[in-house]
């Protein structure tokens, strides 16, 4: 293990230069409440700039990432993050702008927000968007607050949110945080929403049905129009979780399929980097009157064509974050939309679906694929067959690391045993997919002939298999001398 940065300290060593003091303190009086004065100096390490650069470069060496490895982490859309977007978002005229500057000094930023909102409306068939939510789950929560507000305004007491059993854990967690009761809807034998179960559970207390389409099994909910009609006939709302928008971007608009509101993940579909776990951005769009419930402030174009932030709307849920959203992420998302443009945007969906189907075909001889012979942008394989001979999905994942591939999402969705959720994305080439398939076949051979190789995996990572149980039993969450 690399030593912890705190262990590398050397008393009195100076790091990067910070701005010098230039005030003569004899000229001023500083009067801090005695009881509040700090009585000790924060215990920070003392290192040179090179010490720090070496340390974090050494840590970087221990990561695998999209730029170095195929990263088919299902549901996360680990596509290539274009370099030009990074360069644009790091321009000083974007990074060094304060959120409370006078509006006349931030016209460029306001126009970026307005354009992004306009294009997201166009791509999803929504009427308005907020760019405020900082992540997908934050967008979901925003949508749940809007649902609550919507029915308060209509003076209807609706308490339940319907969620398929294949949904991401963030869906029920977001609904619960907003004070709703979660009602789980079963999947049918094809892996899509069980309409009978939906029929049985929908009632006049149903506020909203949260759907991911294609769902987490990588299947398009082909009954979507029927579902939409059913929900709306009971006065409920239909919500689109944009986690899998990549499969239909530029081809199908959630709004045209009957969805009333959506959240999108800029860090999935719109190519902004995942950052090791954020920052992302989770804009939320809505149709018609429901759009009035979106958070404030709202970006608008005034009659004189200039842009402004509007803070007043009694139907709004209020705000869900300070300031306006993860602006620098939004810049990258707009850059991505413009580089794709109307000519190429649909290729995202078409080629991501082609890649996933191609890989599915290549792998169906080794893994059971419980739901169907084809898929959208991702598919879920099961390692049930392998489990029968003593090798689990996690063993297979760890072995993939040895061969230079990031693992798929594992043990999700919960309705598939030993799930391996594979999402190649459109930015991968046939050569990469072929190589991946070849390696998985090799791992299958190892599974049959030498399962211990998998039980012991990984072998060539910086550490061997780590012990999660000890970590949770005796939590060590910060370095102590």
């Amino acid at each position: 293990m690399t030593k912890i940065i705190f262990e590398k300290t050397s008393e009195g060593r100076k790091g990067s230069a910070v701005p010098e003091k230039d005030i003569n303190i004899a000229e001023i009086s500083i009067d801090i409440d005695e009881e509040m004065k700090a009585d000790k100096i924060p215990d920070l390490p003392e290192l040179s700039e090179l010490d720090v650069i070496r340390h974090y470069t050494e840590l970087a060496n221990k990561n695998i990432c999209v730029n170095s490895h195929f990263y088919p982490l299902g549901s996360c859309t680990m596509k290539y993050n274009p370099c030009v977007n990074e360069e644009i978002a790091s321009m000083r005229s974007f990074t060094d702008i304060h959120p409370y500057q006078v509006e006349s000094s931030v016209s460029g930023n306001l126009e970026i927000m307005y354009l992004l909102k306009k294009y997201l409306c166009e791509l999803t068939g929504m009427d308005d968007f907020t760019l405020q939510p900082a992540a997908g789950a934050h967008g979901e929560f925003t949508a749940m607050l809007m649902t609550k507000k919507w029915f308060e305004l209509k003076k209807e007491n609706r308490t339940k949110i319907l969620i398929p059993d294949s949904a991401h854990g963030t869906n029920p967690a977001s609904a619960n945080m907003a004070g709703f009761e979660v009602v789980q809807i079963a999947s049918n034998e094809n892996g899509t929403v069980n309409l009978d179960d939906l029929e049985a559970k929908i009632d006049d207390k149903t506020a909203c049905f949260m759907m991911t389409n294609p769902n987490t099994l990588g299947l398009f909910e082909r009954d979507i129009l029927k579902i939409s009609e059913k929900i709306h006939s009971k006065g409920g709302l239909l919500y689109y979780d944009g986690a899998n928008l990549n499969a239909i971007l530029g081809l199908v608009r959630p709004g045209d399929a009957g969805f009333d509101f959506v959240h999108l993940n800029m860090h999935k579909t719109f190519s902004t980097p995942h950052g090791g776990g954020g920052p992302g951005a989770g804009p939320v769009g809505a149709k018609g009157k429901l759009a009035e419930c979106l958070p404030l402030p709202k970006i608008i174009q005034k009659e004189d064509k200039t842009f402004s932030l509007m803070y007043d709307n009694p139907s709004s849920i209020g705000r869900v974050k300070a300031f306006y959203g993860n602006f620098l992420v939004l810049v990258k998302a707009l850059a991505y939309i413009l580089s794709m443009g109307k000519d190429e945007i649909a290729n995202v969906a078409k080629l991501s679906v082609l890649n996933a189907n191609y890989l599915l075909k290549k792998l169906e001889d080794i893994y059971e694929i419980p739901y169907g012979k084809s898929c959208m942008h991702e598919f879920v394989a099961s390692a049930d067959r392998q489990k029968n001979i003593g090798v689990t999905a996690i063993d297979i994942c760890k072995r993939m690391l040895d061969y230079g591939f990031h693992a798929p999402t594992v043990y999700f969705p919960l309705i598939v045993h030993e799930a391996l959720m594979i999402e190649p994305t459109e930015t991968e080439s046939i050569q990469t997919l072929d190589l991946y398939s070849e390696i998985l076949h090799k791992i299958q051979e190892e599974t049959e002939k030498n399962p211990d190789l998998l039980h012991e995996a990984p072998h060539n990572m910086p550490v061997k298999r780590l012990d999660d149980v000890t970590a949770a039993r005796k939590p060590d969450l910060a370095y102590k001398k």
Binding site: D31, E49, K62, G275, G318, N357, D467
Partner: protein, 446 residues
């Protein structure tokens, strides 16, 4: 763009999957909604066109040469080495470290981040980050509500108004009890005490508060403790911890806030860095990711995401929070930033902020037409009242001189329409300050 497929390869792949065309891949999509709308988007931009386009938009923004805006977002110096690390693709193009063995870099960096935030706040446990300061106080409230099984949250009117609004969205304004601040810009202890009931889950006190004043939470902490509520101390200028007591020493159960000051640019307000640290007894109720140290099967030390039984992907609707993606790269910025400036750089910066702000406050208060609004002690931010020009006029005029002139407070507090909130950091030289003061006096002469 960014797709490698040649026509030939597409044919070959379609052949493998047994389809005649790309459209055939979408047979499960009802015809009524498939490719029925022509997207009204611009044509695809080349890289060069894209850069030109954004350069033009960038030119419509103004980067102030000297900036005196704060209010939860601060203009601090960021060593070049910070972005040298955070722009390493092995950090920024990875995701949440689900495969621990292939993510030891990210995991160790989170562990170090947790250590930094625990040490600075004096608390035992830090999570791996939250979206921002506003959502951090919401998460702290949710933890407090779960821990005390009480419903209401008490906040000071001197809490960042946008944090207060965010909290109202999260828990409902009917569950928020507000305490006013007094003529010194400090939370009114007597009112606070009188409103403490057994319905209050926690009291949130920002320090320094939104008005820049340094609160003394000692008495408040005692009253809160007696009431069996939790004390949450919120900090959105964490350099203040070089000068004032940390939340632990002030009796806090939870410390939260925004650490954008550490290595994250202002970025028009986002992304920034929400933090949350707690005392050990609240460890299993904390929201967000946690990195923990463990051993591998050979007994060597390494890191994993841990205590995941709290989280949404395991507990679903029973999770302590819905958070999944956080602000990991911003937490890395903070970690690298603190490592680079170290103990002495941190203290020099903290003192520098303190001294410059006091110099500026003194200079302004010597001007005719301006007074310091509050007599309380402050760190790097303070309020002035302006009798001859409105704060809005001042900031417009300053903007035309390439100066970020502060934040008019009337938009947040209707009875403070004459007030301007000014922040001073190590980025403002004495010359910048003198210039600002000169400009201020020019306006008065007119």
């Amino acid at each position: 763009m960014y797709t490698p497929h040649t026509e030939q390869e597409i044919k070959q792949m379609l052949n493998t999957v047994g389809k005649d065309s790309l459209d055939d891949l979408f047979e499960s999509v009802p015809k009524e909604i498939y490719n029925t709308h022509e997207m009204n988007l611009p044509k695809s931009y080349s890289e060069n066109e894209l850069k030109k386009f954004f350069r033009k938009l960038a030119s419509e923004n103004k980067v102030f040469e000297s900036n005196f805006l704060g209010g939860g977002c601060y203009n601090h110096y960021i060593p070049s080495a910070v972005s040298a690390i955070t722009s390493d693709s092995r950090f920024f193009t990875a995701y949440t470290p689900y495969q621990a063995e292939a993510s030891q870099g990210t995991l160790q960096a989170i562990y170090e981040y947790q250590t930094y935030m625990s040490r600075l706040t004096g608390m035992d446990v830090s999570n791996a980050s939250l979206y921002d300061g506003a959502t951090a106080i919401c998460e702290a409230s949710i933890i407090s509500i779960a821990e005390t099984k009480r419903k209401k949250v008490m906040i000071s009117e001197a809490l960042h108004p946008e944090y207060a609004e965010t909290l109202a969205s999260y828990i409902g304004s009917e569950n928020i009890i507000k305490v006013p601040f007094n003529e010194n810009g400090l939370t009114d202890y007597e009112v606070l005490k009188s409103k403490l009931t057994n319905e209050i889950a926690c009291v949130i006190l920002q320090n320094p508060n939104f008005l820049g004043s340094i609160e003394n939470p000692n008495k408040i902490a005692e009253a809160v403790k007696q009431n069996k509520s939790l004390l949450v101390i919120a900090i959105n200028e964490p350099y203040s911890l070089g000068v004032i007591k940390n939340p632990r020493d002030c009796g806090a159960d939870i410390a939260v806030g925004d650490a954008q000051s550490f290595g994250c640019s202002m970025g028009f307000g986002g992304p920034s860095l929400g933090f949350l640290t707690v005392k050990r007894n609240l460890m299993r109720k904390i929201s967000g990711r946690l990195a923990g140290k463990t051993v591998d099967k050979d007994g060597n030390e390494g890191f994993v995401l841990t205590l995941q039984a709290r989280e949404q992907h395991i507990r679903r609707e029973k999770a302590s929070s819905n958070i999944c993606s956080n602000e990991a790269l911003c937490a890395l910025s903070a970690t690298v930033h603190l490592s680079l400036i170290g103990k002495s750089g941190f203290m020099q910066t903290a003192e520098n902020n303190l001294e410059k702000a006091h110099y500026m406050a003194k200079k302004i208060s010597e001007l005719d037409g301006f007074t310091l609004k509050f007599k309380s002690s402050f760190f790097n931010e303070f309020v002035i009242s302006c009798s001859k020009e409105t704060p809005e006029e001042i900031v417009e005029r300053m903007a035309s001189k390439n100066i970020g002139g502060g934040i008019p407070l009337g938009r947040f507090y209707p009875n403070m329409k004459d007030c301007l909130l000014i922040a001073v950091t190590e980025m403002n030289t004495k010359e910048d300050i003198d210039n600002f003061v000169k400009e201020l006096s020019e306006g008065v002469k007119k």
